[in-house]
Structures are given as C-alpha cells and as structure tokens.
C-alpha cells in the first residue's frame, strides 16, 4: 500500500500549484506604477542592459543616502533595451533608464519615451558628450563612454617579426590576410560599432568597397563578441588563431597579469568608434523627482569611480581617478570615429542590410 501514496502526493501538489498559482501571482506582482501613497518613500525601477553591473553596495549607498529604493531590471542588449522601451511606451517598465547609447539614442528620443531632464551635475567638461539639441540633448545625461577598437595580439606579431597594422586600410592589405575576426553588425553591438567606424571613415559611398576588400582579404565574421574573442582571437586567454579582433579599448588592461610588464594585447588606435552611454527619466514615472536624483547619482564619484572596474567603460566626469591597471595599460583614444546620432538613426537599418548583402555572399 505504501507505494500508492506517492502519486497522490504528486497530483495534489501539482493541482494545488496550478490552482494557487493564478491568484498568488496576481497578489505578488511588484507593480512599480502604483500611485505613491503620501509620505511613502519612492521605489524606483532602473531599467538597463544585460552588461549593467555596479560593485556591491553602490546602489545601497544611494538608498541609504536618499531613502529611495532601487530595483534593477535588465532588458537585453543596448538595442533590445531601446526597442522594449519603445514597445512599452504606454505602460513603462520603470522610472529611470541607463544604457541607451549614441547608436540607438535617436530611436528612444523620437518615440518619446523620455522626460526632459539632464543632470544638473554636468559641467562644461562633460559637454562634448551631450547629444545635440533636439536629438536627445534635453533628455539624456551622458554617464560613461568606451571605444570599440580592433585589438591586436602583440606577441603574435612579435614572434613573426611582422609589423602590426595601424589603420583601417591596413586591415585590407594582403600582408594581413586572414588575420582579422569581427562580429556581425546584424547581431552584435561591437559589430555594429565597427561598421559605423567604417562608414565614418570611408563615407556613404566608400564603405561598401572597403568591406568588399576586407572580405577579399579573408576577414572572419562571427555572430557575437564571445565567440569572436574567445574562439577565434589568438590573445593569451583565447583559443583562436587570428591576432586581430574587434573588441573594446578596455580589453587589453584586463589581459594584464603581471602589472610590471606591458599588456600582451593592445588596440589599433586609428580604428575606434566611440560609444557613449546615457541615462534618462522615463515618461510615465510616478516619482519624477526621485528619478532625477538617481540620474544625478550616476554622475557621483561613487558610481563614476566604479564604472571602469565593473563595466569596462570610462567615466564621463572629468578628473575621475582610474584603476591602476587602466592608468598603466589603457590607451585613451584621442580621436575616435563618430557619426551624428540623427544620421545613425536615419540610416542604421539600411547600412546593416547593405552590409549583410555584401558579407552574405
């Protein structure tokens, strides 16, 4: 008889789970959009991308300082984040957004998902990072920036006595045949940034020929950063064969094991495209003032100093001290490629489609 008990238990548990779930779910849902009770402290939801990370206690510092609780919701990569905000414009997913970058800013701004607010903590030193007026300059506060650059495996070139390439043109030089791996502009954020670098460098009429030349020179195109960097790049912590990869200007410092020695990898400083990440207040928030304070907090020394270590990006606030390995091994790109955000917004999809048609052959 003992053996009969088990299936009953299973069924009872199953039915109970099914029956209880509906009401229980409805009861548990945290709904940030409830109207605030008078005197209740604000409960903010910060929506961001998958790469968002701050060290332990950083957001707690904000809460203990202001009494405002912050819940973080990650919504995919930067492009996906913006698309989800656009899609849910009528019932927003949170109060503050962090992680809209200059390649997708126009879509968010045009769709009207943001309230007018730019942090008052910004000074003239950070002004170059601001988006143009009318294109997000009133809604988006710059928080960090990073450069997407071709990374180079110094040891690989040293072993072969081959001079490293320097420019985008060099990458199409037969001397560097089959040495470069990049990410797809259609499926990867650094891949898109690299495509934009080539558009900025060669212009509307020239980038297509450049890509044909790259293809002719054996460029390998992977879907995402992970497989390009770890499976195809020849760097010290990778398993691949190719000594040139599209990554970030912040990648080489991370490869440093012996702080006294030079980094085993480096960046080609003339191949970079700058991505700036912004924060803003979402339209529809029940706590606009608290939301503004959170945007301000992202520019505070607490957050700005934490950015390089936790998200591999440069703080925008001038004079923020950098970690030691960065100070010693990171190269700050002086003159990266850039494009007008409005132009990116207008042409991004068309460029990607033209690019796909060239590389799909």
């Amino acid at each position: 008889m003992g053996s009969r008990i088990r299936p009953v238990r299973l069924v009872v548990a199953a039915v109970a789970a099914g029956a209880l779930l509906g009401p229980a779910l409805a009861g548990c849902s945290g709904s940030p959009q409830d109207p605030p009770a008078s005197g209740a402290s604000a409960q903010l939801v910060l929506v961001t991308h998958d790469s968002f990370a701050l060290s332990d206690g950083v957001l707690d510092a904000f809460t203990s300082e202001t009494g405002i609780a912050v819940d973080v919701v990650a919504l995919g990569d930067a492009g996906e984040l913006v698309n989800k905000l656009v899609l849910t414009k009528d019932s927003p997913l949170g109060d503050v957004v962090f992680g809209i970058d200059n390649t997708f800013a126009s879509r968010a701004v045009d769709a009207g998902v943001l309230l007018d607010y730019v942090s008052t903590a910004l000074t003239a030193a950070e002004a170059p990072y601001l988006l143009p007026a009318g294109q997000g300059g009133e809604q988006l506060t710059p928080v960090d920036s990073g450069d997407v650059c071709v990374n180079v495996d110094h040891e690989w070139f040293a072993e072969r006595g081959l001079a490293e390439p320097a420019t985008l043109e060099d990458l199409a030089d037969p001397a560097y045949r089959d040495l470069l791996v990049v990410e797809s502009a259609a499926t990867s954020s650094p891949g898109l940034a690299f495509l934009l670098a080539t558009v900025a460098a060669f212009g509307e009429g020239g980038w297509q020929d450049y890509w044909r030349a790259l293809i002719g020179n054996g460029v390998k195109i992977d879907a995402g950063w992970t497989d390009a960097y770890y499976a195809d790049f020849s760097g010290p912590s990778s398993d691949g064969e190719r000594p040139l990869v599209v990554s970030y200007s912040s990648s080489p410092p991370v490869e440093v094991v012996d702080p006294a020695a030079p980094s085993p990898t480096g960046v080609l400083t003339a191949t970079c495209f700058r991505q700036t990440e912004y924060a803003g207040v979402l339209a529809g928030t029940a706590w606009p003032e608290a939301a503004q304070r959170l945007v301000d907090f992202l520019l505070s020394p607490t957050v700005q100093q934490d950015l390089p270590g936790s998200m591999y990006v440069y703080p925008v606030v001038a004079g923020t001290p950098l970690p030691e390995t960065w100070a010693a091994h990171a190269v700050r790109i002086e003159d990266p490629y850039g494009l007008d955000p409005a132009e990116i917004g207008a042409s991004r999809e068309r460029w990607i489609q033209e690019w796909a048609a060239i590389v799909d052959r």
Binding site: S3, R4, R6, V8, L10, V11, A13, A14, V15, A17, G18, L21, G22, L25, A26, S29, G30, V45, D50, S51, A53, L54, S55, D71, V72, A74, G76, G79, E80, N83, V86, L87, T88, S91, L93, G94, R107, A186, T187, K220, I221, D222, A223, G224, T226, D227, Y230, A231, P236, S237, D239, G240, S247, Y248, V254, V256, S310, Y312, V359, D360
Partner: protein, 556 residues
C-alpha cells in the same frame, strides 16, 4: 478490446462528479495557457499583422517573398530534418543499451546521457568551435547540424528508451524462437511497437532543432541563420514586428503541421512493469559499439569543457573552481562584477527549476490525463483537441516572441507581472510541459479503459480511479518526466534571460555573462560553472532514476 469498441458497448460512465472534475481541470489548464501563452503571443503577433487595429496581411506576403526569408526557411527545415534523422538513428542504439541491457553503472550513464541537453549553448558553442578548428567542419553549416545532434540525441535515447523498457521482451523472444534473426525481429516486431515513442521523440527533436537559437548564432556566424535567429533579429534589434510576425506565423504553421502529422502515427503502446533488462550477449556487440561511439560524440565536448575549466593560459589551475565556490577572487582580479555569485545563481536556478518543474508537471500531467480520457460529447472532443494543440505549441514559438508578448500583454492588473520573477518558472514550465505530455500521454493512453470502468463499478470515485489506476501505472514515467522537466528548467536560457532580473540571475545567465567578458579567468570560470551545472543536472536525473527504480522493485 479497443477503447472505441468499448465505448460503443458502454458509453462513458464518467458522469456526475467525474465530468465536473474533467471540465474544471480542462478550463483551469486552458486559462493558464491562455493567460501565459496564447494571449501574450497573440498580442505581439497582432501588433505585427494588424498594426492599426485593421488586419493587414500584405506584409506577410512581402516578407515571405524576400529571398533571404526563403533561404532561411529552407535552411531551418533542412537542418532540423537532418539533425532529427541523425538523432533518431544514433539515439536508438543508445536507447537499447541503456534501457534494455542490464549492466553495472547503467543508472549513472542514463543520467549522464541527458547532460548535453541542458548545457549552455554559449560555452558549448565556443568549445565546439575550438574542437572543430582546422577541420573542414569549421564554420560550416554541418557544424550546426552536428551541434544540434549533440544537444538533442538524449531526447531520443530517453523517450524511446523509457518506452522500450515497457515492451514485453517475450514477443521478441517468440520471434527469435520462430527463427527470426535479431535484426529481423527488431525490424518487424520491436520497431512497430516503438512507433509512438519514436514519433514523439522525433517531433520534439525536430521542434527543438527548428527553433534552435544560441548554437546557431555561435556556430553559424553571420552566414547561417534559422527562422528563430531571424525572428530574434527582427524583433529585438530592428523592432520590425511586421516581418517578425510573418515569420512567427510560418513557424506556427510548421508546428501545427508537425503535430498534426504526429497525430496520424499514434497507436496504443503496451503498458506493463518495466523490463529489468537482460545481460549483454555476444550478438549485442555491434549495437553496443554504435552506442559507445554515440557516447563518445556526446562526451568529447563535455570533457573538453571539464578540461578547459582546469586550464588557463599558464597551464593547470584550480583558480576557476576556487573562485566559483567563493574561495578565490577570480583569476587576475578581472572577473566581471556579477550581480550574483555563481553559487547564488545556482541557488536561483534550483529554486526556479523546482517551481518550473512542479508547474510543468501540473500542466503536463493534467493535460495528459484529460487527453487520455474519452470525451463524452462533441464539445468535449473539440476542447480536447484544442488543449492538445495549445499545450504543445510553446515548443514551436520563439522565446523572443513570448518574451516580447509578456511585455505588451501582462501590463495591467491582475496580471501586471512583467518584472515579476514569477514569470521565469512559468515560461520554463511552458517549455518543459510539452515534453511531460509527450512522455505521459502515450502511457496513459495505454491504460486499458476496462480497468478504470471496473474500478468505477466497484464504487471508486474519479479521483480514486485516477490515483489507483492511472497514476499507479504511470508513476515511473511521471518520475522520469519530472526529472527531465527539472533538467530543462535548469538549462533554459532563452525565456529566462528575457524574464529574470540581475538579482535573480540563473546559472546559465551567469555563465553567459562570464563568457561575455575578456580577461584571463572568465572563460575558464564559465567552463567550470557549466561543468557544475552539468553535474547538478546529472545528479537530479540520477535521483529520478533511483526513485523510479525503487518504485519498480516495490511493484515487482
């Protein structure tokens, strides 16, 4: 006597309270599937095909006529069909060895065989790429097919094996006694009886392969794609809902067609106490050799992961494992600031998977019980086929479509759940429930209705019938389905990454994050975390095996 004959002579006796229970159960299930599947998916599709409220199907024709779409659809079908065929051919010998032969270590091997199915595609993709480097398969379309076989062959082994175990070997022995050679006996006696299980496994594998995502991206690079990767690109990167909806509808049509075709080949399996298996014989050597080769195919990438979790650029290291269990600081101090530690993520994974498994069992078992009953009326019959379709559909719908559907549908009380962690087990259960149904439905359909009628005649209530007849006979498959559902929920990535929050990230998500950052130790640690996930899954499945085995010995 067949069920049909029986119902002619004595119409269903499940009157009164039995019918009320049946209807209540069916409506509860449909309500759950409606709220958490049909509504969200319908809502996002509607935005694509009726953007201004008016139906506009012109977009579908336009999208489907694009050369890229046709190429992608063709690639998807070809790769899913090939991989399914390979899985069936390779999975059968393994099913025979693991479920018909008796040998030391069988339980462990059965559990280990499922491990590939739940491994995170990111790290396995990188491991595959590294293994295939410098071979002709590198970067080719065949690499994707090979990887799909790696991930899915265990579904065949397990689904077919469990059914094989229930077959009476006496029939085969009789064929042999009558002079049939083993192959002939297999072909004309065993194979037909395994038909339903093979069809079930084939459908599931086909649908999994046709909707494969991560592995296609990693191994396919920019050149190859599937309908699934295309829907993801169109939805999340371009917000081109019109084109995405068109492709989603194509995908739905596939699934409905496949499920309909599967319905044609269904027949009644036998149901009996599982055969404990026999000792291997000399004649089994060729089959064992093939099964061993399949085992090697499955083991190589897993062993590569294991090896690579101990190997960094300076040689052998324990640092990744130390960091994983919280003893180290992360190699080179470069580990990205994870919102949760891998161990905490494992805790999240286990909690979500437990909830997801319970829910998948509730949905899958409930649906299987309802679907195995003779409907008393035309309405009941229609409701039944509706339920059968709806419960299987999630296998063929993109996680992206579902995730975006949740965003636009579940935005108002009482279902304002968009940022609730509760959606994670719900979505995981939707993915796992079809497998539960496919495992249990053939078994419950195999229960002789005479048994139920006899029990009722003796005065048993419908609930009592359910547990004394159906569940008693199906207890072992229920435990097997529970183990598989748990494993699926543990490994689920697509929907989970959409729904989980940083603070409640699961282990597969943490693995993806680790593998998404440069630095000396991150990939090594991702590999270690993947091995940890594999070990947990294997342990869970081994427990299910042992629990099932104990039931057999009690029953026997």
């Amino acid at each position: 006597m067949t069920a049909e004959a029986r119902s002619r002579t004595a119409p269903s006796r499940a009157g009164g309270s039995g019918r009320v229970w049946t209807w209540a159960g069916a409506l509860l299930l449909l309500a759950f599937l409606g709220v958490f599947f049909l509504w969200p998916v319908g809502e996002i599709l509607a935005r694509g095909i009726a953007p201004d409220g008016a139906l506009d199907l012109s977009g579908i024709g336009e999208v489907l006529a694009r050369p890229r779409t046709l190429r992608i659809v063709g690639l998807t079908l070809a790769q899913a069909a090939l991989a399914t065929l390979a899985c069936l051919v390779l999975g059968m010998p393994a099913a025979f060895v693991l479920y018909r032969l008796r040998f030391r270590g069988r339980t462990a091997l059965r559990a280990l065989a499922v491990v590939p199915f739940v491994l995170p595609t990111v790290v396995v993709g990188v491991a595959f790429k590294v293994l295939l480097a410098d071979t002709p398969l590198d970067g080719s379309w065949w690499a994707i097919v090979l990887a799909l076989v790696f991930f899915n062959v265990s579904v065949v082994t397990r689904t077919v094996g469990t059914a094989w175990e229930e077959l009476d070997p006496a029939v085969e022995d009789a064929a042999a006694d009558l002079g049939a050679r083993p192959l002939r006996a297999f072909w004309s006696v065993t194979l037909p009886r395994l038909g339903p299980a093979i069809a079930s496994a084939g459908i599931i594998v086909f649908l999994f392969c046709a909707t494969a995502f991560g592995v296609v991206l990693v191994l396919g690079g920019a050149r190859y794609g599937t309908v699934e990767t295309e829907i993801w690109r169109l939805t999340s990167q371009y917000l081109d809902l019109r084109a995405a909806s068109a492709l989603s509808l194509v995908q739905l049509c596939f699934v409905v067609l496949v499920l309909w075709a599967a319905g044609r080949v269904r027949s009644r399996p036998e149901l009996r106490v599982p055969d404990p298996g026999r000792a291997p014989r000399r004649g089994d050597v060729p089959v064992i050799a093939v099964a061993a080769a399949v085992g090697a195919l499955l083991a190589v990438p897993v062993l590569a992961l294991l090896l690579r979790s101990f190997l960094d650029r300076d040689g052998w290291t324990l640092e990744a494992w130390a960091a994983l269990v919280g003893l180290g600081s992360g190699a080179g101090g470069a580990a990205p600031a994870l919102a949760v530690s891998p161990l905490a993520a494992l805790g999240n994974s286990l909690a979500f998977a437990a909830a997801g498994m319970l829910l998948a069992l509730a949905v899958g078992l409930g649906a299987s019980i309802l679907l195995s009953r003779r409907p008393a009326s035309g309405w009941g019959s229609r409701l039944r086929s509706g339920l059968e379709g709806v419960v299987m559909l999630p296998l063929g719908v993109s996680a992206v479509t579902l995730g975006f559907g949740y965003l636009v549908a579940l935005d108002a009380p009482p279902f304002d759940l968009r940022s609730s962690p509760l959606l994670v087990p719900i979505a995981q259960a939707l993915v796992a429930a079809p497998l539960v149904v496919r495992t249990l439905l053939p078994v419950l359909r195999g229960v002789d209705p005479l048994l139920r009628d006899a029990a009722e005649d003796l005065g048993a209530s419908p609930v009592r019938v359910l547990w004394s007849i159906d569940l008693r006979l199906a207890a072992r498959p229920v435990i097997a389905a529970a183990g598989l559902a748990f494993a699926i929920c543990l490994g689920e990535f697509g929907a989970t990454t959409f729904l989980s929050r940083p603070a409640t990230a699961t282990l597969p998500i943490v693995i993806e994050r680790l593998a998404g950052h440069p630095g000396p130790g991150n990939l090594v640690m991702a590999n270690a975390a993947a091995v940890l996930l594999a070990a947990v899954v294997a342990a869970a499945l081994a427990l299910a095996e042992l629990a099932g085995a104990r039931r057999v010995s009690r029953r026997g």
